[in-house]
């Protein structure tokens, strides 16, 4: 029967490919089955993978810093495995990011889903979200704001694992005394963002 198997295999080469209009993500969205929608967003800091849930923005990731597949796997494990690419769903956040990088926006209006954060780290990141455009805080100040003034190192770790850099502005948190400290996407990105905001000359 090997010859028959070959005939069928060869004939399968003539079967048509999937028509592009048979997109699954839109239908999934209509049926309420899309738990995480993601897309690529270009920025002056390189390509970003951005993800939203029905509750809001859940992830912003520098592709250069973290492989996109790894970002998506993490979302599948920690939020929901129903992860699909649907660029249209990311239009609002893409627009806000474009405006921000163009210097036409100083605050983000998209809702945020804190699903990838927990405990003290979440409190630190919430405190960080309260630091305005052009301002800066310190690891000590966000630790205090989050309720544990002495947990400065833990605050640093929380900022280092910020799942939504740029939008949750961990780049605005510096060392006491003014040294830049570290950054999820590399310190040169932190400098870029602080310059963009006029907080660093």
């Amino acid at each position: 029967m090997k010859d028959m198997e070959r005939i069928i295999r060869d004939a399968a080469g003539g079967l048509p490919g999937v028509a592009p209009e048979l997109a699954i993500a839109e239908r999934a969205e209509d049926e309420g089955l899309l738990d995480v929608a993601y897309a690529s967003v270009d920025s002056p800091l390189g390509s970003l993978t951005v993800a939203v849930t029905p509750r809001g923005l859940v992830r912003v990731s520098y592709d250069e810093f973290r492989e996109r597949d790894r970002t998506l796997e993490e979302l599948a494990e920690r939020v929901s495995p129903r992860v699909l690419e649907l660029p249209a769903k990311l239009d609002p956040i893409r627009r806000e990011l474009d405006e921000y990088f163009d210097g036409r926006r100083t605050a983000f209006d998209v809702p945020v889903d804190w699903a990838l954060t927990r405990g003290f780290a979440r409190e630190v990141l919430r405190a960080t979200a309260g630091i305005g455009f052009g301002d800066t805080g310190t690891y000590a100040s966000v630790a205090a704001e989050a309720g544990s003034p002495r947990a400065v190192r833990a605050a640093g770790n929380a900022l280092g694992s910020n799942p939504m850099p740029v939008v949750v502005p961990c780049h605005r948190v510096l060392r006491t005394g003014g040294a830049l400290g570290g950054y999820t996407g590399g310190v040169e990105r932190k400098e870029f963002l602080l310059r963009l905001e006029g907080a660093l000359l």
Binding site: M4, E5, A12, G14, R27, S80
Partner: protein, 157 residues
């Protein structure tokens, strides 16, 4: 708890072309589009509840097979059987290659249709095919053999 499911998009990217070809082969171009969407939506619906992450391909083809069976049943209920169309000499234009061969495949019993495609086109191991067919490994092997034999006989006629 312990199961680590890949992002659904990864599954879709990896298998969408083959699933579509499987459906065109087993239900025909007319019904393949609907079956394709139904397959993926059903898979997405059930996905978070999966207890294991191995055998995802077999799981997908099992769903596709069920959608194909539904389509065959629905067609049997329609007043004019669409199966007649290929015999009238005008195959659907988008299917090139061997339309008459796929028409024969579609006339096989459901398990033989899947068995023949999954084995010949995907090179699926019998253990995996057994999961698709919800049968023993031996029955999977038999379905492949019977399906191929019947196609061989019909082509020789």
């Amino acid at each position: 708890m312990g199961v680590r499911l890949p992002p659904f998009q990864a599954l879709l990217d990896e298998h969408r072309s083959d699933i579509y070809r499987y459906l065109v082969a087993t239900v025909g171009a007319v019904d393949a589009d609907d079956c394709y969407q139904e397959t993926w939506i059903a898979a997405l619906r059930a996905y978070p509840g999966l207890k294991r992450a191995d055998n995802l391909r077999a799981w997908l083809y099992r769903i596709a097979q069920n959608k194909a069976i539904d389509a065959h049943r629905a067609r049997a209920r329609r007043p004019l059987p669409v199966e007649v169309v290929p015999d009238q000499g005008t195959p659907p234009p988008e299917v090139d290659g061997r339309p008459e061969l796929w028409a024969r495949v579609r006339e096989l019993p459901p398990k033989q249709r899947s068995a023949v495609f999954c084995r010949s086109v995907l090179g699926m191991p019998y253990d995996e095919l057994a999961v698709v067919l919800d049968s023993s490994r031996e029955a999977a092997r038999r379905n492949v053999h019977e399906g191929l034999k019947r196609l061989r006989e019909e082509l020789d006629r």
